[in-house]
Symmetry: C2
Subunit: 539 residues, 2 copies
C-alpha cells in the first residue's frame, strides 16, 4: 500500500534564480509541457507582474492548458498598511487565471522588522488579508512560510502565529521553507514535529496539510525533505536538476525516485518515472547548462563503473554495486574506459562494442597501451566511444580506409566592423584520386567541415545526410593560457543514429579537424556494418 | 565545549575513481601536501601494489613526510584459503611504511558468496587473520566494513559477526561504509544505533571507535554522515569536492563546516577552515575538473545574490539570505549581474567597482539596456567582470582609447604528418600611427595574442609583463553543431593582479580575439587607475 505525496515543481521560478540560468518565454513553455507529461501535480510558473515574460507565460497556458498539472502563480503578501483589494500587484496575480496561488509570507521577526520595516502585528494582518482576498475571488491558496526554520529558532511563538494566521485565513497547504538552506535534517525533524503538534487541534476552514521547501546550502536539501515527509508532510517542493539560487533547491530527480522506489510513496506513474532521466537532460538542454554527470539517479555517471573490482562484480550481479536498477528511471549502466582501466575493463568495453577480445590476444594489450598513451596526451574516450571503437579496429587490423587525408588550410580575417570571414581548403585521396576542395563557413570549423563534405560526397553520397549535432571544446591545461591543449568532442548524426568522436591538439583548429574527420569516417563505417549497440544512440 | 571529530580524506583513492578524473604521481603529492596544511588527521593515499603510481606515492612521502596528517595505506583482506603472512599483496602494503592501514572486508553475505566465491566462515577468518597479521607487524588498523548497510539489511547477524571479528582481532576503528550509496539518513540512524548497541559490552584489545563512509547515490551522503555522527560515530570519511565513483563520496568541503560551524564539533583549526574554499579550488585545478560553482559553502555561487529582493535585503543585513558568513570558510558574497538583473543589482554591482551610479542617471538605464542586449547575443558578464567594467565606462563616456583595431588575419595549415602551423597578422592604430605585425603560435589564438603584443609593446612597454593565465571556451547553442556561437573567457594577469574578459562570435577565432583585446586594454587601464577592488584579484 503506497501513500500519495504531492510533488510541487518550482524550476520555472526558484530554479531560474540560479546564477548563469536564463529562460525565455518559449523555454518556460517547453519545460512546463515536459513537467505536465511527467505528471507533476503542481508547477509554479512565475510571479505574474514581476516581469512581462511571466505574465505572457500564464496567458499562453490559458490558451492551451496543461493536461495533468495545475499551474500555480507565485506572489508575496500585500504591502504594509494597504488594502489587499486595491493592491495592483495582487490584481496582476488574479489575471494569471490560475486555480491555485502560492503566497509567501514572513515567519522570521528579523525579516518583518528589518526587511519589511513594519510591525509584527501588521505582518500577521498582511498574511490574513491577502489570503482572505484570494479566497474571496475563488482561488485556492498554498502558503509558503518563508524562512520558517530560522524564524522558529529565533522566535518560535511568533513563527507559529504566522502559520496559524495563514491556516485560519483559508490556506489549504502550509509549506515549511528553509529559504537560506542552513537547516540540518535533525533540526527539520524536531521543528516540523513541533509545528504539526502545535496546530493539530486548530479550527481551520480546511483540514491542514503541510509541505517542505528545502535548499542545498548545507548539502542536505534531500535529507531535509525526507526528514519532513517522515514527520507527516505531504507536499515536496523542488526543481528539476536542483537548479536554484546559490547552491540550488532540492533536486526533484533525486527526491522522486527516493520517495517512490525506496519509501513507498506514490508521486508519479511508473511509466512516467521511466522518463525521469530524459526530462532531466531535456531541461538542462533547454536551460543551456551542461548536465551534471554525477547527479544521483539521472547523471551519466550515476551507474558507471570504473574500478576493476567493481566492473567484474557488477557484471556477475548488478546488485553488488548498484542501489537500484538504472532502467527504472530510464538511465543505463556504463563500463568506463580510462587510464585507470585494467585489462578487464577494456575487455568488458570491447564486448559492448560487439568485439569479443581474448585476454591473451596481443591486440588486447596493444589497445590498453595505446589507450594509456593517448590519454596521457589528453585524449579522453569516456565520452567519445566512436573514436575508441576506431582505435580498437586499428589495433585489430580491421579499420577500413575510406579516404586518406593530405592536409588542410584555414584562413580567417576581419577588418574593422566587418564580419569575420572563414575559408578552408582540404586535400584528400579517395580511390587513388587526389581531391582538392574549398568552402566558406560561419567559423573555421564549419568551413573545414563543409570542405571535407564537398571533397567526399561524390564518392560517398550518404555523407549528405550526416549532420554535426554538437561541438564541445575543453581547454585541458587552462593554466598555460592560449598555448594550452584543447580537446574537442564532436557529435555527429545520420538522422537515425548519433555518435561522438574526439580530437586533441594545442591548435583548436587541428583538434576540431581530427574529431570532424573521425566523425565522417565512423558514419561511413556505420552504413557498412552491423551497428555496435552501445556506441551509437538511436535518435 | 566542542567535541573532537576525526576527518579521514580519501580523495586520492576513492575520489580518483570518479569518471573523468585521473591524477598523476605529482598531482597526488601536491594534493596530499594541501590536505596536510589543512590539518586533515587521516589521508588515504592509495592501494600500494595495485599500481606503480601508488607505490611511488608512499615512497615519496617516506622521503619527505607530512607534518600534520597520517598517511594511510588501503587494501583488502587476504585471499580466500591462504596464509596472510605469505600474501604478496599484504607485503606490498607493509612496504608503504605507514603507521595506519585501512583494511576493507565484506559485510554482505551476497558479496562473500557471489563476489569472493567463498564461505561465510572463511570470510570471517580472512578478516581476523589479516588484521592480526598487520597488528603483529606493529601497524594500527582501521576496518572499513564494505556494504555495511546493505549487508545488515540482508543478514544482520552475519554483518554484526564480521564487525565483531574485526574488533576482536585488533582493529581500532570500525567504519560503516554505504558502498552503493543507497541508504537514507533515517536508516543510517537506526542501523548505526543497533550496531553500537550490539558491540558495547564486547571485550576487545582497544576501546571501540566508529566511523562513517557515505556515497551520494541517493543525494544524502551529507545527511547520512550527520545522522551517524549524531549516533556517536567519531570518524567521518569523505573527499574534497565530493569526488568519487558514480555520484561521488561525501564532500568534506560541506561536512567540515557543517560539523564545525553548526554542530560544535572540532575537526580542524579555525585558521585552517579559512582556507577551505582555496583548497577546494586548488584540488579541482590539479584534478583538471571545472569547479562546481553551486557547491555548498565553497562554490563561486554559494553566496551569490541574483533576485532583486534578495540583493536589497542582503545589503541591509547579510543574515537575511546567508546561513553563515562566507568569510569564515574563505568564500565571499557576490552580487550577480545578469539579464534578470533589475536596476538595483546594476547599481549594487557598480558600487563594488567603485563607481557611484545614481538611480536617475540616464547612464544607469543605458548600462542595463546594453547589458540585456549583449546577454541576448550570448555574452555573460557574471564571470567577466573586467569586460563589464569596460561596458560601464563606455556608457559613462569614460572609457579611454589606448589603441584602435583595424583588423586581423589568421592562417592555419597542416600537411600529412606535419604539425599544424598557425600564423596571425594584426593591424592597429596607436597615436595616429598604423602598425602591422605578424607572429606565429602553437595555435591561432596564441599567434593572435603574440602579434597584438608585438604591435603594442613599443607604445606600452608594461604589456611585456602581461600573461594569459586561463582560456575557457563554451559553445553556447551546441545543438547547431560547428555553426554554433562560441563564448570565450580569457583570464589575464600582470604578475600582481588578474582579471577576466569575454568575447562572443560564431567564429571561435573572432570570439577569442575580442576577449584577448579587452584583456590587454584592461591591463593598461589598471596601470593608470586606482584598482577597482572586486574586479581584479590579487595573486
Amino acid at each position: 500500500m503506497t501513500h500519495p505525496l504531492w510533488i510541487y515543481d518550482t524550476t520555472l521560478r526558484d530554479g531560474a534564480q540560479r546564477e548563469g540560468l536564463s529562460l525565455s518565454l518559449d523555454d518556460k513553455l517547453r519545460i512546463a509541457r515536459q513537467l505536465d507529461s511527467l505528471g507533476i501535480p503542481f508547477i509554479e510558473g512565475g510571479w505574474p507582474g514581476a516581469n512581462p515574460k511571466d505574465v505572457q507565460f500564464f496567458w499562453k497556458l490559458q490558451e492551451q492548458p496543461l493536461v495533468n498539472s495545475e499551474v500555480v502563480a507565485f506572489c508575496s503578501t500585500r504591502r504594509p498598511n494597504s488594502n489587499a483589494a486595491e493592491d495592483d500587484n495582487l490584481k496582476a496575480i488574479l489575471s494569471a487565471g490560475t486555480h491555485w496561488i502560492t503566497l509567501f509570507g514572513k515567519s522570521w521577526d528579523l525579516h518583518v522588522i528589518e526587511g519589511l520595516q513594519t510591525t509584527l502585528t501588521e505582518n500577521l494582518a498582511m498574511i490574513a488579508d491577502t489570503i482572505k482576498f484570494f479566497r474571496s475571488q475563488g482561488r485556492r491558496v498554498i502558503y509558503d512560510a518563508e524562512h520558517w526554520f530560522d524564524g522558529y529558532k529565533n522566535n518560535p511563538n511568533y513563527a507559529l502565529q504566522t502559520l496559524i494566521t495563514a491556516a485560519q485565513a483559508g490556506a489549504e497547504w502550509l509549506v515549511f521553507c528553509d529559504t537560506n538552506g542552513g537547516t540540518l535534517p535533525h533540526e527539520v525533524t524536531k521543528i516540523v514535529r513541533d509545528a504539526i503538534q502545535a496546530t493539530k487541534d486548530l479550527e481551520t476552514p480546511f483540514p491542514l496539510q503541510f509541505g517542505i521547501h528545502s535548499h542545498n546550502d548545507s548539502g542536505t536539501a534531500i535529507g531535509n525533505a525526507i526528514a519532513a515527509v517522515l514527520e507527516g508532510v505531504k507536499m515536496v517542493q523542488g526543481t528539476i536538476n536542483g537548479y536554484g539560487e546559490r547552491c540550488g533547491n532540492a533536486n526533484l530527480c533525486t527526491l522522486i525516485p527516493n520517495f517512490q522506489l525506496k519509501l513507498d510513496y506514490n508521486c508519479i506513474q511508473d511509466e512516467q518515472i521511466k522518463r525521469l532521466t530524459e526530462v532531466s537532460r531535456f531541461v538542462s538542454e533547454v536551460a543551456n547548462l551542461a548536465p551534471d554527470d554525477h547527479a544521483p539517479f539521472v547523471g551519466l555517471s550515476a551507474f558507471s563503473h570504473k574500478g576493476g573490482i567493481h566492473v567484474s562484480a557488477v557484471q556477475k550481479n548488478p546488485l553488488t554495486y548498484e542501489h537500484i536498477p538504472p532502467e527504472i528511471i530510464g538511465n543505463q549502466r556504463r563500463i568506463v574506459v580510462s587510464d585507470q582501466a585494467g585489462l578487464s575493463n577494456v575487455l568488458a568495453k570491447a564486448r559492448t562494442f560487439g568485439i569479443d577480445l581474448d585476454r591473451n590476444n596481443p591486440a588486447s594489450r596493444k589497445i590498453l597501451q595505446q589507450l594509456k598513451n593517448l590519454e596521457n596526451q589528453g585524449y579522453q574516450f569516456e565520452a567519445a566511444e566512436a573514436s575508441f571503437d576506431l582505435l580498437m579496429r586499428e589495433a585489430l587490423g580491421t579499420r577500413k580506409t575510406f579516404f586518406t587525408l593530405k592536409g588542410f588550410q584555414v584562413h580567417c580575417d576581419k577588418f574593422s566592423d566587418e564580419v569575420c570571414h572563414a575559408l578552408a581548403t582540404v586535400k584528400v585521396t579517395v580511390n587513388a584520386e587526389d581531391i582538392l576542395e574549398a568552402a566558406e563557413g560561419n567559423g573555421p570549423v564549419s568551413a573545414l567541415d563543409a570542405a571535407l563534405r564537398k571533397a567526399l560526397v561524390n564518392f560517398y553520397p550518404m555523407i549528405a545526410e550526416f549532420q554535426l549535432r554538437d561541438y564541445k571544446v575543453r581547454i585541458i591545461d587552462g593554466g598555460s593560457g592560449t598555448s594550452a591543449k584543447t580537446r574537442v568532442l564532436v557529435e555527429s548524426s545520420n538522422g537515425q543514429q548519433r555518435w561522438t568522436t574526439v580530437g586533441v591538439s594545442t591548435n583548436i583548429i587541428d583538434a576540431s579537424y581530427q574529431a570532424v574527420v573521425e566523425g565522417l569516417e565512423y558514419g561511413l563505417l556505420l552504413k557498412q556494418q552491423e551497428t555496435p549497440v552501445s556506441v551509437v544512440a538511436v535518435i
